[in-house]
Amino acid sequence: MAMTLAEKIVAHAAGREHVAAGEIVTCAVDLAMIHDSGGPRRVAPILKRFGVGLWDPSKVVLISDHYVPAGDDETRRIGEVTQQFAAENKLAGFYDSEGICHVVLPERGHLKPGMFVVGGDSHSPTGGAFGAYMFGIGATEMAGVLATGEIWLTVPETIEIEWRSRFGPCVVAKDVMLFLCGQLGMEGGRTQAVHFRGEAIRGLPMQERMTLSNMTAELGGQTGLCDPDETTASFIRAAGAEPGDIARWQSDADATPAERHRFDASALTPQVAAPHSPANAAPVADHGAVKIDVAHIGACTGAKLVDLRMAASVLKGRKVDPGVSLLVAPASRRDQEAAANEGTLQVLVDAGATLLPNACGMCAGYNGTLQENVTCISSIARNFKGRMGTASANIYLGSPYTVAASAVRGRISDPRELLS
């Protein structure tokens, strides 16, 4: 019987020949990713209550990214608890202040097609870009996984989203996801498996596919899959790992998704989401000349090497408007080093950018916050009221191209006007 990629991975994890959408199965977890906020400080006391250790430390990766660098006694204590947990368990990986978990995990070769992976963070669908079924769970559920190595799952339906043709200049994965949030709403994914397909998606580099999968969280999908291909395999090999059997982890040609949406990539334009929801997305021109105080390029979804390059292509030879603070928090230390080596970082700094640590930082309002009443445009994933720590702030969302163009102009701007 024909199966979608999501069904194939779930069936394999459940030890079954076949699964059908809607049935509840118990799956064996191939990898669990935890971070310093929802990780050790919350799971360790629960494991103690259970009286058991980790089911398999070689299948657990721990990444400190939310409370780094420590800003006060409480965050320092969280850092110590996290480091102690890593010291006590022989984990598959522990990365402290190396960058944001969703970027660091594949960068260090922990993901490959066909894996069934849980992450203790809502942007865990990012792993779907590699053809892995990866999704987010809370800390208590994570403690259950760490103790047992398994988790129940309602077998997802597949929602196929096809982008034919090719994207135009300055139109990138962030625009795709803001557009989809606007079209389908934040519950369009119905906690099912979203599957991105089509010529335009095949043409995207891995870090752009990661942005699609990442923001499947905002679209309400449980995971966001991309078809594994040679682009996937090359990325994994460059990360020092083996991609495994790419051909095995493909949807059957005659598998039928529950829903299918088709869009023309060449017709998409740069998108901006107005406060206080990614679903308030519209073409950049529809937002008028909103004046901005802060332009922010950061987060797992918006400050990877490809994102920094987008911003630099706009900012090269230009200066940020004197009324705007441009803040850039590269998503990982490695991406920052690569950006420094190729000159991208210098372009950003020369334009007037202030560099922030390789961490979640302002995106979750955990570490550093916006000032009261400011208007900000950011490349992060969600702009809920209070998201960046200040309820009075107005946060707009856009691609790194659009954020950079807005920083130069001092108001929300279409990057194509600067790069044409």
Partner: protein, 169 residues
Amino acid sequence: MSIYGRAFVYGDGINTDMLAPGIYMKHPIATIATHCLESVDKDFAGTVKPGDVVIAGQGFGIGSSREQAAEALKHLGVAAVLARSYGGIFYRNALNFGLPVLVCSEVDQIGAGDLVSVDAATGAVHNKSRGMMLHATPLPQFLLDMISDGGLVPHLEKRFAAERAAAGV
């Protein structure tokens, strides 16, 4: 399980930043809970009583995986949530904390302050203030078992204790 209390009624899109604002996340749940829903109803945390029920529209709990969003409601004594739909991670988190979250398409038949009883096993919802019987989608038995154990942690504690007993440890 018997659930009976006053209704606190909210609209669509109650997200995790409203339920557990990020700026308080480094604090214990008792602190986070005092800020629960403050950006939509500053009186909620101060007036909600054990047994009360939260009623909402589409997408209750969308956003972050932070389970403090569910834990804060549980900490304040909320006995159940009825909503048209839920954020996927929040939904699992709430069940894991032993908080019954039921899908109900008839939430517009419940007003703020109405006295409501809910049977999570049958999905029967009784709006006693209006004398109306409503229906919610009941929870499957294995989730009811987990909730009646008090959530995932006590449920697994029981399982590990049974495994140890069976192994004669």
